[in-house]
Structure formats: C-alpha cells, structure tokens
C-alpha cells in the first residue's frame, strides 16, 4: 500500500468529497442530442455567403527545390479563383522559435513557411493551393498543377538511420534519461535476465473528422472555424503569421470530430486556408482529404527499443535498462519519451534509461494519445512478462514483488498510487486464478486461448485555465472557458462540478467553451484539461460565493449577517449555515441588493495576466515535480483467441481497472477509457503506417489500407475505476484521456505469448508473425 497521505489536510468541501448531488453521477452528455441529430456543426460545416473552396497540391518528391510551376491547366478550370504558389503568395511571417516563456510558440507543426519557400522538406509537403467556387473544381484543378523539381538527397529510412541516433535533450516539460547505480553490470551478474529488442511502426491518429478549416477575413479581423485541440495556440500562431493583433483573431471550435493529439499543432492546411482567404478576399473552406491528412499532419513516431531486466531468483529486479530510438522531422516534431513509464513502474536496484533520436526528411511527428508511454509500455511490459516466464513466476506476482514505495529513479514520493489495488481487484473480477501458466494449455474448440496482463501508466498534468462564472437571479449559472470538446464530455463534467460547488441543480448550469472569445482555457492535451479547468472553476465558485455573501452582509435583514464563508454550505440554490441553519437563496441575496447577476473570474487574459498565468504554471509545475510524482495508472487484463492454422488473433475479453483519482462522470469516464483500449487494440493487432524506405512516401494513406479497429474487433470492455481522489490534484482528478491506451499492446502480446508460446516483439502482431 503506497497511497500514504502526502498533502496538507483541510476540511474538504462537498464537491471534493463527492457528497454533492452531481459529481460522480453517470449523467448523459449535454451535447448528446446535438450530436445524434446532426445539428452539431464541425469546422467544415459553417455556411458563409460567398464561400470558396480550397484544395492542396502535394510535393511528389522528398527533398528538393521547386524549379517551375505550370498552373495554366488548373487556372483554365471553370470556377477556379486562384492557384497560389511560392511564386505568387504574399509573404507570411515564419513560424516562431520555441520559447518556454511563450507556450503558444510550441504550436507550429513544422518550421516550414509554406508557399513562402521553393524548398521541399518531405514527400507530400504542400506546394500549392487551389481556390475555386466549388470543392469539385478545386480538387480537379489541384490535380492539374504541374510542378517540376530539382531533387536533393534525402534521409528517410528509420531502420537504416537507427545507428546514427543522437541523445535526446531533456527540458522542463520533458525528462530525458536516468541512471541509478550500474545497470549493465547488474544485468551481467543477474541470475535470471532477459534482454530484448522491440519495434513499433508509425501510427496515425485517424480522427474520423479529417482536418478542416473555414477562414473568414473582415478587413484585418479573422474568424477561423477549426477542429483544434488548442484554440489559444492557434489564435496566437495565426496572429503572428499574418501580422495582425491577437485580439483580431477569433477561433471557433465548439465541436471537434476526434483529435487524439493530431489537432494540437497548427498544420499546413490551416495556415493555407487563411492565406487563401486573404488572397481571394473570400471566405474559404478547406477540408483535407484523408490522404491529405497523412501527407501534411504528423503521426506517431516509429520506435526501436531495448529492454533488459535482471532479477534474483525470487523475482527482485536488480537491473532495468530501457533505451529507445524514435524519430522527428528535420523541420520539427516532438521527441517522444518512450522510457517515461520506466522511471516509475518498478523498484529496480539499478536503472539505466536512455532516449535517442534520428531526424528524417519526413512530415514532423506529433503527439498521439499518450506519446511515449503508449509505445514505451509495450516494450517494458512485454519484457516484464518475458522475465516472469523465465522465472516461472506469475506475471502479477512479479510486478507486486517489485512495486515501489517511492519513485525508483529519484526516491520522490508518489502523490497517489493504487496499482496493487488495481491488480488485486482485476485478478478477482477477471478470474485470473483460472489461468494455467503453461503456453498453449488453454483451448476453446479449435482456438488457443491466452490471458495476459500489463500495467498502464500516464503522468498527470495541470495547465493554466481562465474561467468566469456568472450566477443570475433566475438561478441559472453560466461557466465560460475556452476549453475543447473532442468527445471527452468536458462541458458535462464542468457543469457537474459547478453545480455542486454552488449548490445548484446540474440542469441550471450552462457551460460555454470552444471559442477564443472566452477566457483562455487549457489545451486539450496531456489528459490535463478536466483537472485544469476544474481547479480554476472551483476557485471561481468560491470567489462568487464570497462576493454573494458580502452582498448579503452589506444589506440589512439577511439571515447571513455576521456569517463567515467557512460556516456556510452551498445547497438548494443558496448559502446556508449548516444542514438546518439559517440562510437564503442566491436569488434572494441578489434581489435585496437590486442586482440581476453576480460574476467571478479566475485568471486574466490581459498581457500581464497571461504572463503571470504562465509563470505561475511553470513555477507550480516545477514545485510539484520536486515534491511528488503524480500519475494515473491501471491494470489491463485481456483474453485472446489465436487460430493455430491462420495466426488470426481475436481479442475476446477485456478488463481494465484504473486508478484515475476521482471520477466526475462514470459514464463518460468509462467511455473514454474504453476508447483508449480500442485504440490500443488497433495498435497491437492491425494498425501500421507503411513508409516507402526509398523515398519516405506513406504508402497506405487511407482508412481502407490503414486498419483501425472496427465493431467486430472490439469485445465488451469491462472498465472499473477505483475512484479514490488524489490529494494533490484539483478535485482529486488524475485525467483519463490517455492512461488506458498505455499497456494495451503489451497485454495483448503477453496473452498471445500465453496462447502460443511465441513472443512477438514487433508491432503489430499480424498473423505472419505467428506462423
């Protein structure tokens, strides 16, 4: 048991303890009706008078310079308004260099200043954009643009470049390697050891909504409809690139048709739609083709990893070595932390973690659901399973014998950790004791049956968020914050939190989000959005109650006269002194004061306010990091069936038990956790982006050739949350967006090992690897 209390104690409010009426309830999502009736409008669905349509022309070489463009054929297509190339495009400011003092500088997907350069940096980079009256005309004309190039040598083959990898740097936001003791020597001396190499292919997010932008200029004011995970970054980026004040740019994104990291950065399509609108003086929409998404938006890096484990005969780990090679693009990309979870999961006596990078002439990679841990847990958790086989130990038992009391690499305390509980509960619910350890020993008719486990792990974050809350005399509450809704149910969750904090019914709360005109919200990333908004929302509600109390005390006749905030309870639409004590409704307070509403704000969007917010964020982050390790974790249990004749693997049963802190809405949390597991099933068994090693061109840029899981691939997924709040996080929330995809591929590979005796170390586990 490691969940030792580590945070200062104070009396928790009903919201925090979950004794309010809304938090914890499995309420239906508030936008469910809009999404099931077709009323919800996504980025490519906003009508504008005079709307024109744009389409991209992609480079057909990998690296080189454009020597000529023949646009005559395209320009002759009826309805074509413009063919924009580097020869005629207006100048844009280049993407800014990255600075930790300006988080928006992280927004550039790539450093390429599209159509302001004759250089081509990857196969598929946009080299022209065609604008026309109709989408058909734009697409047709785009196919008629002839571009000639002088080709330059390019480096594109990840496997061939692995040997040239260089060490990855660490930063405030990203940890690099780690070293404790002498792991190589301990490995060599260990009585039992495994030393394995793993590879994972590139993957793509494949949100079902392809990236789309609608851009409207009105003089120097710009409105952009875009399915983005980061409204603030996008607004700041566009203002900078097009040389207009930030306040002139409005980004509207109430619905995002899935994102998973792929809509975090600003990519070519967005910038070029805005450019096209500027050039033509018309509102312009560009919905990328599915292939266009693959060519212009990064995916998950491929990886090659080594995990070596040494143990005593009783299973005590003496050595843990995890090294990785991943890729970035020459013009940008996120260095992935594939060894992240290996800093935290096992109490090995000696640890060596090292991350290396190769740079390729490819579209820059980008975060995809649990960057780092999703692929890192595949390697680590597969190796742990293999060690269990070598030791003749149950894989859960091996994990429990090495469950750390403190963070293994540096001895920091865990803010919260219930992995033992997750495994114990999971084993019981899943019937783990019925598993016979011998490979191939369990059958169902002609199928070989295998059971596997693996740990899930994802660090918890909290970002700055500005929030306002307004309470009106009619009892309605409006929460305003520019956060993002890509399916997580943020508006529903925040309404639940506000309802309990103010003691009003859930139905009385409306949440406004997805618009840069609102107070700046956090980006949707790092599984941090709910906790980040919740922290500010709770603070805003406290402030609001404080000012309502002040109003009450100032006016004669209030039963709240002489009361202090600490004495009061928010319930039944007002403030009351204890369960039976005197008090009054907010409506009565406002009426007596002659006001029709009261409002409170947390955070500020002034220049100073923003800088202060970011500094506060960085200092809190660093302070927290020094004190605690915070993370969500969990235990996956999976059952697979393998056809011994064809090598086909079917996932037949799944249970995930998660420690994600407090659960705000059990229905939506379960959905999100299931979604991660489904994505993990694809990662394990069918998904893989195929890159031509000669020219770096993606060979399967479509959903017919890149196989995401379908209905038939997904069994009923049993999800259970321990629902114990983390004392160091707002409302005890640890974030649920990413943790469940981690460990999935390993659980499947481990189950396949159990079914067949074969250890597949190269994802995906396709039938050819089992025959």
């Amino acid at each position: 048991m490691t969940s030792t209390p580590t945070a200062p104690t104070r009396t928790p409010s009903p919201v925090e303890t979950g004794t309010g009426r809304s938090v914890g309830r499995p309420l239906d999502r508030v936008d469910g009706t809009a999404k099931t009736t077709g009323a919800a409008r996504y980025a490519a669905e906003h009508p504008h008078p005079g709307l024109a349509h744009a389409a991209l022309v992609h480079a057909a070489v990998t690296r080189g310079r454009i020597t000529g463009i023949d646009a005559a054929g395209a320009e002759a297509v009826p309805g074509v308004l413009a063919v924009i190339t580097h020869e005629n495009a207006p100048a844009m400011k280049p993407p800014p260099p990255v600075s930790v003092l300006n988080l928006s500088s992280l927004a550039s997907g790539s450093s390429v200043n599209y159509l302001n350069t004759d250089e081509v940096h990857w196969n598929g980079q946009p080299v022209a954009v065609v604008v026309a009256e109709t989408p058909e005309a734009a697409r047709h004309a785009a196919g008629l643009v002839r571009v000639s190039y002088r080709e330059l040598p390019a480096t594109v083959d990840f496997a061939a470049e692995e040997g040239n990898a260089v060490p990855q740097k660490s930063s405030a936001l990203q940890s690099g390697g780690a070293r404790k003791g002498d792991a190589e020597a301990a490995l060599a001396a260990a009585p039992v050891s495994v030393d394995l190499r793993f590879t994972t292919p590139p993957y793509h997010h494949n949100a079902i909504e392809p990236h789309a932008t609608t851009a409207v200029w009105d003089g120097d004011r710009l409105t952009v409809h875009e399915g983005t995970q980061n409204i603030t970054w996008l607004r700041d980026h566009l203002a900078l690139r097009f040389g207009v004040p930030v306040r002139n740019v409005r980004v509207v994104a109430p619905y995002v048709g899935g994102a998973f990291g792929g809509k975090t950065m600003v990519w070519a399509g967005t910038v070029l739609t805005v450019l096209a609108a500027r050039v033509t003086g018309r509102p312009v929409r560009m919905a990328l083709t599915r292939e266009g998404v693959y060519r212009t938006v990064g995916g998950r890096t491929p990886s090659a990893q080594r995990v070596a484990l040494g143990a005593r005969a009783d299973g005590t780990l003496t050595a843990l070595i995890h090294t990785s090679v991943t890729q970035t693009g020459r013009t940008g990309g996120l260095p992935e932390q594939a060894t992240s979870q290996s800093r935290h999961l096992y109490a090995a006596e000696n640890i060596l973690l090292r991350q290396n990078l190769v740079e390729l002439d490819a579209v820059p990679n980008t975060p995809m659901r649990a960057p780092g841990e999703s692929i890192g847990t595949f390697a680590l958790e597969s190796a742990v399973d293999e060690l269990a086989c070598a030791l003749g130990l149950d894989p859960i038992e091996l994990r429990m014998r090495n469950e750390p009391e403190r963070n293994p690499v540096d001895g920091k305390r865990f803010a919260h950790r219930m992995l033992r509980e997750a495994y114990a509960l999971g084993a019981e619910r899943f019937g783990w004791s019925g598993r016979t350890p011998e490979p191939g020993s369990m059958r169902d008719g002609g199928w070989l049956v295998g059971l596997g486990v693996a740990s899930a792990y994802h660090p918890s974050w909290q970002m700055p968020a500005n929030v306002t809350v307004r309470l009106s005399a009619d009892g309605s509450v409006v929460v305003r914050c520019g956060f993002h809704e890509m399916g997580m149910g943020g508006a529903t969750a925040q309404a639940q939190i506000a309802a309990d904090a103010l003691g009003v019914p859930f139905e009385a709360v409306r949440v406004e989000y997805g618009d840069s005109d609102l107070p700046s919200g956090p980006g949707a990333g790092g599984s941090a959005q709910t906790a980040s908004v919740a922290a500010s929302l709770l603070a805003a509600c406290e402030k609001l109650k404080g000012s309502l109390l002040a109003l009450a005390r100032r006016s004669g006749g209030s039963p709240l006269r002489g009361r202090r905030p600490g004495d009061l309870e928010a319930r039944d639409g007002g403030l009351w002194a204890g369960p039976a004590g005197p008090g009054e409704t907010y409506a009565a307070i406002l009426a007596r004061a002659g006001r029709d509403s009261a409002e409170a704000a947390v955070g500020s969007d002034t220049r100073v306010g923003k800088v202060t917010g970011q500094l506060r964020f960085m200092s809190k982050l660093l302070r927290d990091r020094r004190r605690w390790v915070k993370a969500a974790c969990g235990a996956h249990f999976c059952e697979v069936r393998v056809d011994p004749d064809t090598g086909e693997v079917r996932v037949s049963r799944w249970l995930g038990v998660f420690d994600v802190g407090r659960v705000v809405n059990a229905k939506m949390v379960a959905s999100q956790l299931r979604g991660g597991i489904v994505m993990g099933i694809g990662m394990a068994l069918s998904e893989e982006t195929l890159v031509d090693p000669r020219n770096g061109r993606i060979m399967n840029p479509g959903l017919a050739d890149y196989h995401v899981p379908v209905h038939a691939d997904v069994p009923p997924i049993d999800v259970h949350c321990l629902d114990v709040p983390d004392p160091t996080m707002p409302l005890g929330l640890l974030g649920v967006g990413e943790v469940s995809v981690t460990g999935v591929a390993a659980a499947i590979a481990n189950a396949v090992r159990h079914a067949t005796g074969r250890r597949v170390r190269d994802l995906p586990v396709t039938p050819d690897k089992l025959l």
Partner: protein
C-alpha cells in the same frame, strides 16, 4: 451541368450539378445538410451513411445523379415528424458516442441494418443460413455494423444502444 431532382427527407430539391458530384457533397455542400459526415470520401469509414429507399448506402460512393427520384433519408430526417428517433435517444443514454463525428453514420447504418436483419438477410456470422431470421446477437450487431468506424472507440455503447432499441421495437 446536369439537372438532378433529389428527394431528401420528404422534400424535393432540384440541383444543377456537374455529373461527378457525389450524393454526399450534394447533401453537405449544396443542400446544407451537414449532419451526414465525410470521413474518407472513399467508402472506408461509413460516416456518410444515409438511407436510400430505406437501404443504407455510403453516400460518398454514390453519384447524386444516380439517386434522382429515390427517397433519401439523412440523420436530419430519420425522426420524421416526431420529436426524435428512439435510436437517437438510445445512443445518448448508452453513451454510444464521443466526438460525434461518426454518429450520424452509425445511426443511419443501424436503422438500415435492422431492416436487413428483419428481412432475413444473413451476415458472415449467421450460423444457420436457412433458419427463419437469425437472432440479433451482439456478434450479429458487431459484424453487421463493422462498416462504420468509430475512432473514439464508442463501439460498446453503440452496440448497447442498438440492442436496447431493437428489443424495444420487438416488444411493440
């Protein structure tokens, strides 16, 4: 340009279109019926599923001109004059959606699928092809719905919603 007379959700519409325009683009870009989604434009995702005379089709693979005079029903029209289709409510109750982008296609596809099943059409997992109507097991639902991708992974909730709706219909 060709003139196409479409009948969508019970209303007639006459459009002048280049003949290569898909039914999907006609609905979304010309008629403003954006409830039908475009996920791939290649017949691979099912987001564009609509009903043509009650049968489910991928509208991205259908030319608008081919569907002149057919009765097209999109997500905006499945409720008819009613306040909502009970399957829409079942999706919300069972959380058969997250981002919502595949949802219109899932719902239209499910309605078409249940009609196919009701008419005795077998699927790849139907055990007895000659039996009178296969039981609508979860495996049958999953197999028959596999043309509709959901990247958010709301599959469990979608199957729950369809099962619940089908059972309620069978009661009636």
């Amino acid at each position: 340009m060709v003139e196409v007379r479409l009948r969508v959700n019970g209303a007639d519409a006459s459009l002048d279109l280049p003949p290569q325009v898909s039914l999907l683009d006609a609905l979304r870009e010309r008629l403003g019926l954006t409830g039908t989604k475009k996920g791939c434009d290649q017949g691979a995702c099912g987001a564009c599923t609509v009903l043509a005379d009650g049968e489910r089709i991928n509208s991205c693979l259908a030319l608008a001109v081919q569907y002149a005079g057919r009765e097209i029903t999109t997500i905006e029209g499945i409720a008819g004059d009613g306040p909502g289709h009970p399957l829409q409510a079942a999706f919300v109750r069972n959380d058969g959606l997250q981002c919502g982008y595949c949802t219109s296609g899932q719902i239209c596809s499910a309605i078409g699928m249940l009609a196919e099943h009701g008419a005795g059409m077998p699927s790849a997992v139907t055990e007895h092809l000659c039996a009178d109507g296969a039981e609508l097991t979860d495996d049958e639902i999953r197999e028959r719905m596999s043309g509709n991708l959901c990247r958010c992974g709301a599959y469990n909730g979608i199957v729950d919603a369809i099962r619940e709706f089908a059972a309620a219909e069978a009661e009636r």
